[in-house]
C-alpha cells in the first residue's frame, strides 16, 4: 500500500512510512560520496507546478509591502463588507482588507514551516544518528522514546508542548517540530543501518578514523537523502498544522495576519462576507498542495532517480 502525504497530514499514517529505504547489500564497493543532485528534467510536471506555486506564494509574502493593496492592520470604516472595487475580497470584522491580510499571511505560514522543519532536523537528525551508530542501549532507548511520541496524535502533542512554551508562532512551530522529530529520527536510523557494514565505513574505522567523524562525514551524507525528502513531505503537513494552530489562537497571535487565524474569525460573519471564509482556506489548500507536489517530485528524483 502506498502512503499518501495527505494521510500523514492527518496523522493517519506515521511519517516514517512515507519513504522506504532501500537496503544496501551487506558488502558493496560503493564509495562514500554525496548523492548526485537531481536534475531539472527529472522533475515531473506536477512537481514543477508545485515549485512554482510555492515560489509565488513565498515571494508574495516577502514582497507583501509592495504588492498588497493596503496595510493588513489598517482599520477601514467598512466592517465585514463583501467584495468591492476597493477591497477585492472584502473587509473583516474589524474593517481590515482581507486580500492584504492574505498576502501578508503567507509569510507567517512559510516562516512557521521553516521553523518547524529546522527544529525537526536539529532534534531528529542527532537522535537518529545516535540510535543508528551509538550502540545497542542507545538504539533501544531512543527508539522506545520515539514509540512513545507516536502514541500522541501530532496536534495533541503539539498543543501539550505549547501549553508549556506559551502560544506564539515561534513556540507553536517549535512544538510541531519536536512532535515530528521522532519520525525523522526513525527514518534516519533505518537508513543508517545498512551503512553499518558498508565498505567505506569499515575501511574508515580500520584506518582509525574516530566514530564521531565517520558518522558525520561518511554516514550522514549517505543516509540523508530519504530524510530530506521526508522533510518536504512534512512541510505540507506542517503548513496545515500551522494554520490549524493559528485557527485555535495557539499559533500566530492576532492581530498579526495569518491564514488560520483569519479563518477563525471569518466564519462568524459568513453572512456578510463569505469570501473572507473561503479565501484563506483556498490559500492553505493551494500552499499545502504545492509543497506536497514538490515533495513528491523530489522523492522521485532522489530515491528512485
Amino acid at each position: 500500500m502506498s502512503v499518501q502525504p495527505e494521510e500523514v497530514a492527518l496523522g493517519l499514517k506515521t511519517q516514517h512510512d512515507l519513504v522506504t529505504v532501500e537496503p544496501l547489500a551487506p558488502s558493496t564497493f560503493r564509495r562514500s560520496r554525496r548523492r548526485k543532485v537531481g536534475r531539472w528534467y527529472e522533475f515531473r510536471f506536477g512537481a514543477r507546478v508545485g515549485l512554482a506555486v510555492t515560489a509565488i506564494l513565498v515571494l508574495a509574502g516577502i514582497a507583501a509591502p509592495l504588492i498588497a493593496p493596503d496595510n493588513p492592520l489598517h482599520l477601514f470604516p467598512q466592517i465585514a463588507q463583501g467584495t468591492s472595487l476597493h477591497h477585492l475580497l472584502g473587509t473583516d470584522l474589524d474593517g481590515r482588507d482581507v486580500l492584504s491580510r492574505l498576502i501578508y499571511g503567507s509569510t507567517s505560514a512559510y516562516e512557521g514551516v521553516g521553523i518547524a522543519l529546522l527544529v525537526t532536523a536539529i532534534v531528529g537528525i542527532p537522535w537518529g544518528l545516535i540510535a543508528g551508530f551509538g550502540g545497542k542501549v542507545a538504539d533501544e532507548g531512543l527508539m522506545r522514546i520515539a514509540d512513545m511520541f507516536f502514541s500522541f496524535p501530532a496536534l495533541i502533542l503539539s498543543i501539550g508542548i505549547i501549553s508549556v512554551l506559551g502560544p506564539s508562532l515561534v513556540h507553536s512551530m517549535v512544538a510541531v517540530g519536536v512532535a515530528f522529530a521522532p519520525s525523522i529520527a526513525r527514518l534516519l536510523r533505518a537508513s543508517t543501518l545498512p551503512l553499518r557494514r558498508a565498505d567505506f565505513v569499515l575501511v574508515a574505522s580500520s584506518l582509525g578514523v574516530k566514530r564521531f567523524r565517520i558518522v558525520l562525514r561518511h554516514v550522514l551524507p549517505n543516509a540523508i537523502a530519504p530524510v530530506l525528502v521526508q522533510m518536504f513531505a512534512l512541510a505540507s503537513i506542517t503548513l496545515v498544522i500551522e494554520a490549524a494552530l493559528g485557527f485555535l489562537a495557539l499559533g500566530a497571535q492576532p492581530p498579526a495576519p495569518s491564514w488560520g487565524n483569519d479563518l477563525a474569525t471569518a466564519y462568524t460573519y459568513f453572512l456578510s462576507n463569505p469570501t473572507a471564509t473561503i479565501a484563506p482556506g483556498v490559500c492553505i489548500a493551494i500552499a499545502a498542495w504545492g509543497l506536497s507536489a514538490l515533495g513528491d517530485g523530489l522523492r522521485e528524483v532522489f530515491i528512485f532517480g
Binding site: 502514541s151 496524535p153 501539550g160 466564519y267
Partner: protein, 325 residues
C-alpha cells in the same frame, strides 16, 4: 495467541508509562515553572510578574501544590493519584480535574464514536465498492472523491459548513446551546453536522486504504481460481477477498482515531461544543497545566489501548499473525 497478547499488553504498558513520564516531565524542562505562571499573570516566562510576588507567598503555594518535593516524588504522587481517580485540581478554576474531564468527555465521545462509526461503515463500503468497480466510472469517481476528502483542510470545511449550512440556510444549529448541557437525545441534533464533517476525513482515509488493500487482493491468483471454480461474485468478494484485505485496514483504525481526536479539537472549537478538545485549548490559554496534562495523557492512553485492540483483532482475523509468522 495468548503469548502474543501478553507481549503486546506488556509493550503497551511500557508505552503508557513512558507517555505519562513524558507528559509529566514536559513541564519541568523549562525554567520558571508553574508557580511563576500562576502568580506571574500573563507573561509565560514570568519575568515581569515574578518579582512583585512575595517569596513567602510563593513558598506557601509551592507547599500546597506539593511543588517543593523533588520531581520524581511529585511524579509518583501524581501517578498514585491517577490510580485513585485523582488528577489534581485545575489551576484555573480550582475544580478537581476529574470533574472537568467527566463533564467534557460526553460530547467528545459522541463526536468521535459517531464519526468513527460512519467512517468505518460508509468509508469501508465505498472502499470495497471502488475496489470491485475499479475499472468502471463509479469506482474511479469514488476514489477521486476520497482523495479530495483527504486533501481539503477539515477545519476550513467546517467553517464553511457552519457559515453556509448553519448561519445562511439554518439547516443545522451553528453552535452549542448556552446554559445547561442538553440531554443525549437533544444533543444529537447539535452534533450531527460536526460528526458528518469529522467523518469525511476518516472515512476518506479508510476508503482509500481498503481500496488499495482490496484491489491488491482481487488481483491475486487465488481469487482468479475462485472465479474459475464458478463461485458467486458475492461469495468471492465478501468471503474470499474481504477477509484477507481487511487485516491491514484494521490496524489503521487507531490511526483514524488519532486523526479524529485532532479533528475534534478543531471542530469542537468551531461549533463551541464543550468537549475535551475545546477544553484543552482553553486550558492551554489559561495556563491550566493539570488539565492539559490529564487530557493529553488520557488521549495517549486511549490511542495505546486502541492500538492494542487492533493488533489483537488482527491476530483473531489472521492466523499468520497469531502464529507469529
Amino acid at each position: 495467541m495468548r503469548k502474543m497478547i501478553l507481549r503486546r499488553v506488556a509493550t503497551s504498558a511500557i508505552t503508557v508509562v513512558g507517555c505519562s513520564i513524558l507528559v509529566f516531565v514536559l513541564r519541568y524542562l523549562l525554567p520558571g515553572g508553574p508557580i511563576q505562571d500562576m502568580l506571574g499573570g500573563s507573561g509565560q516566562s514570568g519575568g515581569g510578574g515574578g518579582g512583585t510576588v512575595p517569596l513567602t507567598e510563593i513558598r506557601a503555594l509551592e507547599n500546597r501544590l506539593g511543588l517543593n518535593h523533588p520531581v520524581w516524588v511529585q511524579y509518583w504522587d501524581w501517578v498514585v493519584g491517577i490510580f485513585h481517580g485523582n488528577f489534581g485540581r485545575s489551576y484555573y478554576s480550582d475544580e478537581p480535574v476529574r470533574t472537568v474531564l467527566i463533564q467534557r468527555l460526553g460530547p467528545s465521545l459522541e463526536l468521535i464514536v459517531g464519526a468513527l462509526a460512519i467512517a468505518v461503515v460508509v468509508g469501508g463500503g465505498l472502499g470495497i465498492y471502488s475496489a470491485i468497480a475499479r475499472e468502471r466510472k463509479g469506482g474511479r469517481a469514488v476514489l477521486a472523491l476520497s482523495g479530495l476528502g483527504l486533501s481539503i483542510p477539515d477545519f476550513w470545511l467546517a467553517t464553511i459548513a457552519a457559515g453556509f449550512l448553519g448561519l445562511e440556510l439554518h439547516l443545522f444549529p451553528p453552535i452549542w446551546p448556552a446554559g445547561p448541557d442538553p440531554s443525549f437525545v437533544d444533543s444529537i441534533h447539535y452534533v450531527i453536522l460536526p460528526v458528518l464533517l469529522l467523518s469525511i476525513v476518516a472515512g476518506a482515509f479508510i476508503c482509500r486504504q481498503l481500496h488499495s488493500s482490496m484491489a491488491e487482493t482481487l488481483r491475486s491468483p487465488y481469487i482468479r481460481t475462485a472465479w474459475a471454480t464458478g463461485l458467486r461474485p458475492r461469495t468471492i468478494y465478501m468471503n474470499y477477498a474481504l477477509r484477507n484485505a481487511i487485516g491491514p485496514v484494521v490496524t489503521l483504525i487507531p490511526l483514524a482515531f488519532a486523526a479524529l481526536v485532532s479533528g475534534t479539537v478543531l471542530v469542537e472549537y468551531i461549533f463551541d461544543i464543550p468537549g475535551l478538545g475545546s477544553e484543552i485549548v482553553t486550558a492551554v490559554i489559561n495556563l491550566d497545566y493539570p488539565v492539559v496534562q490529564a487530557t493529553v495523557l488520557l488521549l495517549a492512553i486511549v490511542v495505546a489501548i486502541l492500538n492494542l485492540l487492533a493488533d489483537i483483532g488482527l491476530g483473531l482475523l489472521d492466523p499468520r499473525v497469531r502464529r507469529g509468522v
